[in-house]
């Protein structure tokens, strides 16, 4: 089981702030993103080139590996400060 979270514009477009997923077959964040994109419709927002992601609350790249129990987050470019 992994916990996936969506923030800011993505959360609004997708209409949810997060979900639990049982994804035994997925081994990387990129595969997880492909799985979410395959839902079609609003999920295409995750195809954005500037998409950022985090694994267990650390910024990471899409080729990062996934493990059971991970907390994953997808979000647009950050704009604090």
């Amino acid at each position: 089981m992994i916990r996936v979270q969506y923030f800011a514009r993505y959360r609004e477009v997708l209409g949810i702030d997060g979900e639990q997923l049982q994804l035994a077959a997925l081994s990387s964040l990129d595969q997880l993103r492909e799985h979410l994109l395959s839902r079609g419709g609003v999920w295409q927002v995750l195809a954005e080139q500037n998409l950022m992601c985090a694994r267990n609350q650390e910024l990471c790249s899409l080729d990062s590996e996934l493990a059971d129990g991970d907390e994953v987050a997808f979000f647009p470019t950050v704009t604090g400060g």
Binding site: Q5, F7, A8, R9, N50, A54, Q57, E58, L59, A73, F75, P76, T77, V78, T79, G80, G81
Partner: protein, 151 residues
């Protein structure tokens, strides 16, 4: 090192003064304050909402401070970043650095702001006369952060 993420207003002057308290070895304190403007990209801004990723935000800021402390001889570092609803004129962020000499304090403060703007999970949503809009990341912020990359 002190990192605070909170909705409350803060007093930049008090934060700055507190940075050198009880440490006579500090010869330089540099402070940066970011404020909410009443305009952006040619539109009036009535206020903004700061969203963040609770848990990750604090970790990301602490990591940025640790990296600054590895690069410069800093004696104290403080970051305050507000979240939630903020009207124009209010401070959003404070970064203060203290060192024996000014150059380290200046450079570290600049570095922390550049990294914060590109690596800390905060998002601004502006309230304009045409409705609310998310602020998009700027490539100039990416370029500014990129100049600190070690070759």
């Amino acid at each position: 090192m002190s990192v605070r993420v909170e909705p409350n207003a803060f007093d930049p002057g008090a934060e700055l003064n507190a940075l050198h308290a009880a440490q006579l070895g500090i010869g330089a304190v540099v402070g940066f304050v970011g404020y909410v403007r009443d305009f952006n990209d040619g539109q009036d801004v009535r206020g903004m909402f700061l969203e963040h990723y609770p848990g990750m935000t604090e970790k990301a800021l602490q990591k940025i401070v640790v990296e600054a402390e590895q690069r410069w001889p800093l004696l104290r570092v403080e970051i305050v970043h507000r979240v939630g609803q903020l009207p124009p004129g209010e401070p959003i962020v404070f970064v203060g650095t203290a060192s024996a000499h000014r150059q380290a304090a200046f450079d570290a403060c600049n570095f922390i702001m550049d990294y914060l703007k590109t690596r800390a999970p905060f998002w601004k949503k502006e309230d304009t006369p045409e409705g609310a809009r998310w602020v998009e990341g700027r490539s100039s912020d990416q370029d500014a952060a990129g100049r600190w990359a070690k070759s």
